[in-house]
């Protein structure tokens, strides 16, 4: 199998970004979590355009990005007791909604959704 791992950190494509990794626990039936910052290098590209949803109460902006990394990305997990990774990119927080484990080819691919509505 071809390993494309080196492309993920190739300076022609890659950039540094911050991942907020959560861990938490239930307290009185409510989920309480904390975040740790993880610095990563990888490739981030838009997966869908920033789009405007015109709602009666306000315009809401949505969008998704694709993230390619050499290290694992995490979505919500009971075993890990944490919710999905949040990625800080271009001033916005993006929450992972899917992860593809392509580690056999040397990388992971995630898709993240823009968290801010405005």
């Amino acid at each position: 199998m071809i390993n494309v791992r080196e492309l993920i950190t190739d300076p022609d494509f890659s950039q540094k970004f911050t991942v907020y990794r959560s861990s938490g626990e239930f307290v009185n039936g409510r989920w309480v979590e904390t975040h740790t910052e993880v610095s990563m290098v990888g490739v981030i590209i838009p997966a869908s355009a920033k789009e405007l949803n015109m709602l009666p109460e306000a315009d809401r902006v949505v969008g998704t990005i694709s993230i390619y990394t050499k290290t694992p990305l995490y979505i919500t997990s009971n075993d890990r007791q944490g919710t999905s990774d949040k990625i800080l990119w271009k001033g916005d927080l993006w929450k992972l909604i899917s992860v593809n484990n392509y580690s056999d080819f040397g990388f992971y691919k995630g898709i993240a959704q823009r968290m801010a509505g405005d």
């Binding site: 959560s22 938490g24 626990e25 239930f26 307290v27 009185n28 039936g29 409510r30 989920w31 979590e33 919500t76 997990s77 009971n78 890990r80 007791q81 944490g82 919710t83």
Partner: protein
Amino acid sequence: MAMRTIAEFEDILQPIIVDILDWSVSKPNDVRIGWETEGPPAFKITDDVIFIMAVPIDHQINRQQDVSYDEGSPDLLETRGMTRVMGLNVIAYGADALYNLKKIKTAMFYESVRHTLSAEQIFYIPDTIEPRRAPEPGQGQWWERGDMQLQFNELLTDTREQNAVESVDIEIDRENGVNIEFTINQ
């Protein structure tokens, strides 16, 4: 008591349901509150877990308000009392889902539960329909699930200061030129 929020209502009911199921020691957090902002991790198909979600219910009795005034300093204290009918959706997963729902429903009549609820001005409406069995498919398996809705009357009060009249100055101008001035004090 000020106006109670939906979250505060859920926080009152959560430990009560934990006690009813006798989970206080073994698994106090397996009665979970739904619609959490961050979407917490799920559970395994073998876990007995309960989710509670409060939803206000429209009812004629919600429209009525009773107002009373008490002496404050220096103003009056206006207290507005009202009933809110609150529904508590209870969703149970796990092999004992229906058993646990039945247990919760039955316990609403226990004196200890009624006493705890009434201390919070919450009163169970004894008209809960039978828990409904509703297994759901997921991850290639059927997950045992049961649903029911408990309903409660909640007494809410809203208190605020209302300005009181301390004194009124009266002036009477008469045609004959003799004016009268006086003050009425409280």
